[in-house]
Symmetry: D2
Subunit: 143 residues, 4 copies
């Protein structure tokens, strides 16, 4: 039975090193933000990803999609909201929305699928404690 763990918001500022010569946050920086958002989602729901890796639970990215609707700039305060959903026994889908702090407009959306693998790179089941927490995948179908 799917769990009900909800979305988590992580707030940060765009770094100068993340700007590019267009004067915008480079589209590649968003990938590292989504990653930090996934790690904060896990933390807020009781999982340390650092600890998971120590226990042999690795989660490499197998799919990544980003839509850039409205740009961000150096020093912008950004709210990244991340939600997770289970995809079968060994994959998790994370959906993210990116906004300026205290603004409703979605600036960017992202979707990342991670696989659960062991240190040998082979698929393994997600930890039961994590699966129990995760909503079913259709919860993020719109993202």
């Amino acid at each position: 039975m799917p769990g009900g763990a909800g979305p988590i918001t992580w707030t940060f500022r765009v770094r100068y090193s993340e700007s590019d010569q267009m004067g915008l946050a480079h589209h590649g920086a968003y990938v590292t933000w989504l990653e930090a958002g996934r790690i904060e989602w896990l933390r807020e729901h009781g999982f340390s990803y650092r600890q998971l890796e120590t226990e042999g639970v690795l989660m490499p990215v197998i799919e990544l999609a980003l839509n850039y609707r409205k740009p961000l700039r150096f020093d912008d305060e950004v709210e990244l909201t991340t939600q997770a959903a289970v995809l079968g026994r060994s994959r998790v889908a994370f959906s993210s929305e990116i906004r300026l702090r205290n603004e409703d407009t979605i600036r960017s959306t992202g979707r990342v699928v991670v696989a659960c693998v062991g240190p040998d790179g082979r698929p393994r089941r997600l930890p039961d404690t994590l699966t129990a927490l995760l909503p079913a995948a259709d919860a993020t179908a719109s993202a």
Copy 2:
């Protein structure tokens, strides 16, 4: 009438700074590789993206998708093959395949859509010389 400019291959090595603690090339590094591949595609077909920006033709990324099938590691020699296609008057879709050098297996695929905008961020038509070169979008539909 769509043009017939073909795919371009760029070869490089995975940098140590692009590795992560899983011992793999970090998924975010691929984004910068796709970007370099687009720039090489343009160069090989007679366009300097640096020069285009100087002339007020900017191409920010509006969509990004990557599939990671098989990992890459530090120091791997990589072949990135990029093809471009026109999407309407002001957008270009780039599709990429990533392989180890001299290996047939596709390790990763990517698709990036860029918009053509002016220095003010507003959409503008692609330069005619570029449009004339680009195949129609269905040429990359499979990527």
Copy 3:
């Protein structure tokens, strides 16, 4: 007469994308942390670097030095303490110390000199309001 603006501490977590295959925070990531620390130093003392650039006050880095004594790892909570000092009319030296949060041991020290230039890249005087704030350079001589 030199000013008395003091050191500023910025706290953050090491990102996964900043790890490398040794399992440590990559030495290049520290450079972007020092930069964020400089920007927080300015902000806490009343200057927005974003706003300064808008007004034509740019501060490119002309010297960088880092010592790595003890490594950091993904997810470590880090305290970066930054102090600034004036170097003549158009340069500022920033000295930084990096520690694990709530730990006394210095893990790393950094020193960065920035030049004050205009949009044309030519040296210009630091804004008087900033110079008035900055201690003299010997305040950071030990770093």
Copy 4:
């Protein structure tokens, strides 16, 4: 007796993702270039750093210094010349000069000291085959 292995030049282009909103190559990008230069120095002299790590010979950076004299920009073709020298039994100093391709002016200089450690992070002697190759440290004193 010190060896006579000479400097190695690696040529590359500045990536778009390495530019910043000043329109220059970000100072942090140089750090990853120096690293690639060290790896090419080793390769040209018969050592695969990837292989060395597999054999338990790790070389984390313990000191880094860079001087930025004249900026570089996106798409510049850059020549990075790297020389190595031995520092005692377990450290190597690498000195680098950065120029535009086919230009004499030095745009930037760098110096990096790496320690030789085992997988446990403890100092270990450099491989004898590498020590035999390396000139003494004063060969790079000017850098």
